[in-house]
């Protein structure tokens, strides 16, 4: 039993209190020799299955740390600004991420690829305070890893081919899509220039600007704002013919965006609001299973709109432009993936 524990637990350096990966022979922080642990076999990299006795997050063994060129840890000093740490090196495995499932969920369609990362590119070990061993977690609500939880310590990159949380089977996820990081015990998210964008659920109401995108169920929309007014009539000049618009009546538009960032339907309304849902709404999508009968309301204003979520938990998401603070319970849509941030247990 003792050897089993030693094989699976990190080793705290008695010299500097740094938490080293299991089976480390030398402290990655101060190069102090560590107590030798029994030889271990690499842990399975498929996400942990829940066990009936597991009542809290299990922490599988992180990948073995580099033994020749230990990386200097960041210690406990917080970053100087809200900016996330510099991008992580190219990593093909979620080795820096500790993950576990606390409940029984269906087996994911695709497990993580086997670890083939050379030591030189292994992620930097994180300095963990003993009081910080309960991390924030990301619960996958849908997509590749539905039902699984992913621990978030200091930083996490999400992408299709680069980062710690990989969605290699999702064509809507960019190679390096988004970053999450902790600062002052708060979680921030940033879109790393992805093609599809990062969408965050709104708590109740949120003001969106013209041209901002938001998604409801499986539908993506862009609020276009107020349409330009009809040009004034000038006697003797040819007027472009079209559908007559009442004078002094502002019209607002919402555009639906198809896969591939292609224009779809555009809906025009004189306001004061537009309802989107599955039944009897201004924009109704009866076949969209992720949409509530009356999912959200958009109260129209010339340069902005008030987006109100009425979905009772299904979520209405807005695309983020810069860094955004996340709260426990907030959800992220990244490609086809929906992840929910959960507070430390």
């Amino acid at each position: 039993m003792a050897s089993l524990l030693l094989n699976n637990l990190g080793i705290i350096c008695q010299n500097c209190d740094f938490l080293n990966p299991a089976a480390s022979r030398q402290c990655l922080s101060c190069a102090q020799s560590l107590p030798e642990a029994p030889a271990i076999t690499p842990p399975p990299l498929s996400p942990l299955k829940a066990t009936p006795s597991s009542s809290s997050l299990q922490v599988p063994t992180p990948p073995q740390a580099p033994s020749q060129t230990p990386t200097q840890p960041s210690h406990t000093s917080p970053p100087a600004s809200l900016l996330p740490p510099s991008p992580l090196p190219h990593v093909d495995t979620p080795g820096a991420m500790l993950y576990a499932a606390t409940h029984t969920y269906p087996t994911p369609p695709q497990a993580y690829p086997p670890p083939q990362v050379p030591h030189a590119t292994a992620p930097t070990p994180q300095r963990l305070s003993l009081l910080q061993t309960k991390p924030y977690t990301l619960l996958a609500l849908s997509g590749t890893y539905r039902g699984q939880r992913f621990a978030l310590y200091q930083k996490m990159q999400i992408g299709r081919t680069r980062g710690q949380l990989l969605f290699s089977d999702d064509p809507f996820v960019s190679p390096a899509h988004a970053s999450l990081w902790l600062y002052n015990q708060k979680v921030f998210v940033r879109d790393e220039g992805s093609v599809s964008g990062v969408y965050v659920s709104i708590p109740n109401k949120e003001t969106i600007s013209a041209q901002q995108k938001f998604c409801v169920g499986m539908r993506l929309f862009r609020y276009l704002g107020q349409l330009p007014p009809t040009p004034p009539y000038i006697p003797g000049r040819l007027v472009i013919h079209g559908t007559p618009v009442p004078v002094d009546q502002p019209n607002y538009a919402i555009e639906e965006i198809l896969i591939g960032d292609r224009p779809g339907r555009t809906f025009i309304s004189a306001g004061p609001s537009i309802f989107i849902g599955s039944t009897k709404c201004d924009l109704s999508y009866s076949l969209d299973e992720g949409m509530a009968p009356r999912h959200c309301e958009l109260t129209l204003m010339p340069q902005s709109a008030m987006l109100c979520d009425l979905s009772n938990g299904l979520g209405t998401y807005v695309r983020i432009a810069g860094d955004r603070l996340l709260s426990p319970g907030d959800r992220l849509r990244i490609g086809q993936q929906i992840l929910q941030l959960e507070a430390p247990l």
């Binding site: 299709r160 064509p171 809507f172 996820v173 960019s174 190679p175 992805s194 093609v195 599809s196 964008g197 499986m218 539908r219 993506l220 349409l227 330009p228 009809t230 040009p231 009539y233 000049r237 040819l238 007027v239 472009i240 013919h241 079209g242 559908t243 007559p244 618009v245 019209n251 538009a253 555009e255 639906e256 965006i257 198809l258 896969i259 591939g260 960032d261 292609r262 224009p263 779809g264 339907r265 555009t266 809906f267 025009i268 490609g335 086809q336």
Partner: protein, 215 residues
């Protein structure tokens, strides 16, 4: 060379309010129509000074749009093929046909996430007065019903559109449109000179013209 006998042509301009028609017999081989032309329609700001030309070609009457601008539309008598760039008028709506580009991933292999595409290849864009783009309706593969209260493309506030007005049939390669018995007709913009048959109707600006041809 034998002289080709030309038919007698009368052009009737139907007033929008349903009042008495204005009748213009065509006395020469060419008749120009516009705000300041022989057949004068001075009060319509949607018509160019010289908008259309009626002329004879081999003994048959033909029509040509020479004013551009808002164009001339001919009432559909049968199913017609349309393409991106075609324009349709139905009721008070002016609709432009556009193509939806095919799906193409980015250079890094990523596809932008969005609403599901059930095979849209074309769409109808509503043109508002002044040339502003209004509502847009993607056209699914198969029949797309256009009407006032129901269907795939509907205009609740347009009393000049019939409940079931027209059908646009889309396939990956082409589009066709046909009127399905509407009261006020479906009109397609003239893209090139065309022969005129007896009873043909044309829409320019707010004016509806009917051409009577008697041999």
């Amino acid at each position: 060379m034998p002289q080709v006998k030309k038919p007698s042509v009368t052009i009737r301009v139907v007033r929008a309010d349903g009042g008495t028609e204005n009748v213009y017999p065509m006395k020469t081989d060419v008749l120009l129509c516009g705000r300041t032309s022989e057949l004068s329609l001075p009060d319509d700001p949607f018509i160019a000074d010289v908008q259309i030309r009626f002329f004879f070609s081999g003994g048959r009457l033909a029509i040509e749009d020479i004013g551009g601008g808002n164009g001339v539309f001919t009432r559909l008598r049968q199913e017609r093929e349309i393409a991106p760039g075609s324009e349709v008028r139905a009721g008070r709506q002016r609709l432009l046909v556009e193509a939806i580009p095919p799906l193409a991933p980015n250079a890094d292999g990523t596809t932008a996430w969005g609403s599901p595409d059930i095979g849209f290849r074309f769409r109808l864009v509503q043109i508002l007065e002044g040339g502003i783009r209004g509502a847009v309706f993607p056209l699914k593969i198969g029949d797309n019903n256009l009407g006032r209260e129901a269907g795939d493309i509907y205009f609740l506030n347009d009393g000049f559109i019939s409940g079931r007005h027209a059908v646009i049939s889309a396939s990956p390669e082409k589009l066709t449109i046909r009127d399905v018995g509407s009261s006020n007709g479906t009109f397609l913009r003239l893209a090139a000179p065309a022969f005129v048959e007896n009873g043909d109707q044309f829409l320019l600006g707010r004016q509806l013209m009917r051409v009577d041809i008697q041999n």
